[in-house]
């Protein structure tokens, strides 16, 4: 009896470990930024290029920072949910437009000047928001992706929940699904807003 029991237990332990391991999502890298203050930035606003936005302006509010781009396919997937979130007005949503022109991959950046890159980004991003709806209180342009690097962005879309003190409380990588919104983001926002 004992002779078969131990190999069987070993086998079951191995199967459980493999099952757990195979069901983990390797894309979900725990962010070291959770629990840390938002990295500072001052980026031009999409709606008014001469004005900048910086996260400090949101102090005292619970808000979401959503990283998006018009070339990002999964952004289109999550977009209706963001539009829905924006309707209830309880949560401020700020968009970080990530590498609108460079990230597209279909342009030769050597042939595009900084000025025309900016103009192209505004045109493309605005057109996209017009077509799919604009859920953002405002969007900022991160043309070269440097702010994205400070926020540890590596796969657009990404969404950050930031508390009243300006501390990142949650980072969600990939499109926000209704389940994730109602199950994770909304309860957290409600708790932080207390």
């Amino acid at each position: 009896m004992n002779r078969f029991l131990w190999p069987l237990i070993g086998f079951i332990v191995l199967v459980v470990l493999l099952a757990v391991g195979l069901n983990l999502n390797p894309r979900e890298v725990p962010s070291p930024l959770v629990g840390k203050p938002t990295p500072a930035f001052a980026l031009p606003r999409l709606d008014a290029l001469d004005k900048t936005f910086s996260p400090d302006e949101m102090k005292g509010k619970v808000w979401l920072l959503n990283v998006w781009a018009s070339w990002c396919v999964s952004c289109r997937q999550e977009h209706p949910i963001l539009v829905e979130i924006a309707k209830n007005k309880a949560i401020s949503l700020v968009g970080l437009n990530y590498k609108e022109v460079r990230g597209d991959g279909s342009f030769d950046m050597d042939k595009i000047s900084a000025e025309s890159e900016k103009a192209m980004a505004v045109e493309r991003a605005s057109a996209w928001l017009k077509r799919h709806g604009d859920p953002y209180a405002l969007s900022v342009l991160d043309l070269d992706g440097r702010v994205g690097i400070d926020y540890g962005v590596y796969g657009v879309p990404e969404t950050y929940v930031i508390d009243k003190a300006g501390v990142i409380r949650l980072k969600h990588i990939g499109p926000v699904t209704p389940d994730i919104f109602t199950g994770k983001i909304l309860p957290l926002v409600a708790e932080l807003s207390k």
Binding site: P26, R27, V29, P30, S31, P32, L33, K99, R102, G103, G105, D144, G145, R146, I149, D150, Y151, G152, Y154, G155
Partner: protein, 172 residues
């Protein structure tokens, strides 16, 4: 007549060969302008580029997770190499550059995770398994040796053995 056609055929063959060679050379050299950009930055500061390669080989590209930052051609890898190049030029040490990356992307970006509480099992797990395996094997072999300890033959068994051996000897 049949003979006179063959030289022309051969000449035509040579012509198309030459065309192929030219075409091939064009195809090969066409690539160089594209590669020139990386080569240029390498030429500017060889020592810095060597450091860049050394550091980025230790880092994981987060987009293609099985590639190093040095080897990846993903957009983000390009950006991060540019960032690291900037940090090298700013005179940052390798440790500071590592911290820059880890503070943004976590320990996951390092191919060699640091030794700390949460990674103890990762570092010493294989050693523990090895020690455990050897220990288990030793216990198993000892127990088996004890079970197979010599027990002297009874008289009847000895006689039977002798008979068999004898029998065997006669046959051969």
């Amino acid at each position: 007549m049949t003979n006179s056609t063959s030289p022309t055929k051969a000449r035509r063959g040579k012509g198309s060969q030459r065309f192929l060679v030219v075409w091939f050379l064009l195809a090969v050299f066409h690539v160089f302008p594209i590669m020139a950009k990386e080569a240029e930055s390498l030429a500017q500061d060889e020592a810095a580029e060597k450091r860049l390669v050394a550091i980025s080989s230790e880092l994981r590209c987060l987009v293609c997770q099985n590639e190093s930052l040095a080897g990846s051609n993903a957009e983000l890898a390009h950006d991060l190499r540019r960032e690291i190049r900037g940090l090298i030029q700013a005179g940052k040490s390798d440790g500071e550059i590592m911290d820059f990356m880890v503070s943004r992307y976590g320990d996951f970006v390092r191919y060699r995770p640091p030794l700390k509480g949460s990674t103890l099992l990762l570092w010493f797990g294989p050693g523990l398994l090895l020690v455990g395996g050897i220990g288990g094997l030793v216990v198993f072999l000892r127990r088996r040796a004890r079970l197979l300890a010599d027990t002297p033959l009874s008289e009847a068994e000895a006689r039977e053995a002798a008979r068999l051996l004898d029998n065997d000897g006669r046959k051969s």
